[in-house]
Subunit: 198 residues, 2 copies
C-alpha cells in the first residue's frame, strides 16, 4: 500500500491486466485520476467518450473508461462507494482564485497531476476532465445546476480499476475544500500486478 | 450567411469582439462547436472548466465558455433555444461502429472537425468534448443515466457567441441520427465582425 499525502499527486505505469486499487482511507476524500496510453501519449482518458458509451454520468462496477480513440483504458472491477464525477476538470490555480478567492491559488489537482506527469513530458494543458473518484456532484435535472457535495465515501471505500492497455496513470489526494468537505485527507493506493497473479 | 451542408464541418478565425451566430435553419439539428486560441493552439475550449465556473451543465445567455487555462473564450450573448450539451464528445467513426453498428462508421463530427481544423495542424486526437449547440441530453438525477433526445430547437433558433480572444473555431452540421432526430439537416452561421461595427 502506498499513500498520496494530502494535496499532492503521483503517477505510475501499469501493464494490461494490472489492477489499481484506489482507497479513501479516512472517508470523504476525492482522488482525481487521469491516464495516457503508454504506446502513444496522445491517447488519453476521455470523459465524453466514457459517458457516451455507458449512457450515464456516474460510472461504477462493470463500466468501462474509454480513451479519446474509443479504446477501453480501464474496467471498473469493483466499487464500494458507487458515486464519482466525470464532468469537472481538476481544481487548478485559476479555479482557486475564481471560486475560492485564494491569492495566489494553489496548484490544485491540475498542477499536482502535471507535476506527476512531467517525467512523461505531459504538461498542464494536456490534463483533461478527470475521473474524479469519490467526488459527489449532484445535478438538478430541471435546470442543469450542479452542486459539489461532501463525498459519500466512508473510511476504507475503494475502487478497483483493471488496466486494459499499457498506461501511465496519475492520481491525486484532492486539494479543493468543497470536494472533500474541507478535510484535505490523503489517498491510498496499491497495484496488483497481472504478472504476479499469473 | 453561410451554410454548412449536412454531415460536414467548417472552421473560421475570429478576432476578439467578433460575434458568431450559429443558426438551426430548419429545426432539430445540432452543431458541435470547438475552439482554440489563435495565439497558442494548445489552449482549447474546456467543458469541465466551463461547467465548473457556471455551476451548471446547460449553459445559456450570459454564460461564459472557458478555455483549459480558465480564460474566457466566448460569452453567450443570445440564445433563443436554451438547451445545449457540453458533456459528450463529437460523434466519431468508432462511435458509429459501437452505438449504431455501422461498418465502417462515418467520420462523424469528430472527423469533420478534424478535417476543418487540419489547416491549423490540429488533428483528431485534439478534438475535445465539444459545445454541442442545440443537442438535447436529458439526465436522470437518481441514476445519472443520460438520454439523447430530439433537439428543442425550432427553425430559425440561434445562439450568438461573442469571441473574447482571437480564436480558431470549428463547427459542424451533426452526423448522428439520434442527436438530430434522424433528419441530417444543414446548419447556417454568420460572423458579425467587431471591426465592421466600430
Amino acid at each position: 500500500m502506498e499513500r498520496i499525502p494530502p494535496c499532492s499527486g503521483r503517477a505510475i505505469e501499469l501493464d494490461a491486466g494490472d489492477e489499481l486499487v484506489v482507497i479513501d482511507p479516512m472517508g470523504q476524500q476525492v482522488s482525481d485520476l487521469t491516464a495516457f496510453a503508454r504506446d502513444d501519449l496522445d491517447e488519453y482518458l476521455s470523459s465524453g467518450r466514457s459517458i457516451d458509451y455507458a449512457a450515464k454520468l456516474w460510472l461504477s462496477t462493470g463500466d468501462v473508461l474509454y480513451s479519446n480513440r474509443s479504446r477501453p483504458m480501464f474496467t471498473i472491477a469493483e466499487d464500494t462507494c458507487g458515486r464519482h464525477d466525470f464532468t469537472l476538470t481538476p481544481c487548478s490555480k485559476e479555479m482557486f482564485e475564481k471560486l475560492y478567492d485564494e491569492r495566489p491559488g494553489r496548484p490544485g489537482c491540475e498542477g499536482n497531476l502535471a507535476t506527476a506527469l512531467a517525467p512523461w513530458g505531459i504538461g498542464r494543458d494536456r490534463v483533461p476532465v478527470a475521473f474524479n473518484i469519490f467526488m459527489h456532484v449532484a445535478m438538478d435535472p430541471a435546470t442543469g445546476a450542479v452542486a459539489v457535495l461532501p463525498p459519500l465515501s466512508r473510511a476504507g471505500d475503494h475502487v478497483r480499476l483493471r488496466a486494459e492497455m499499457p498506461l501511465v496513470v496519475a492520481m491525486t489526494a484532492c486539494s479543493a475544500g468543497q470536494s472533500n468537505n474541507f478535510s484535505y485527507k490523503p489517498i491510498d493506493f496499491r497495484v496488483e500486478r497481472a504478472v504476479a497473479r499469473a
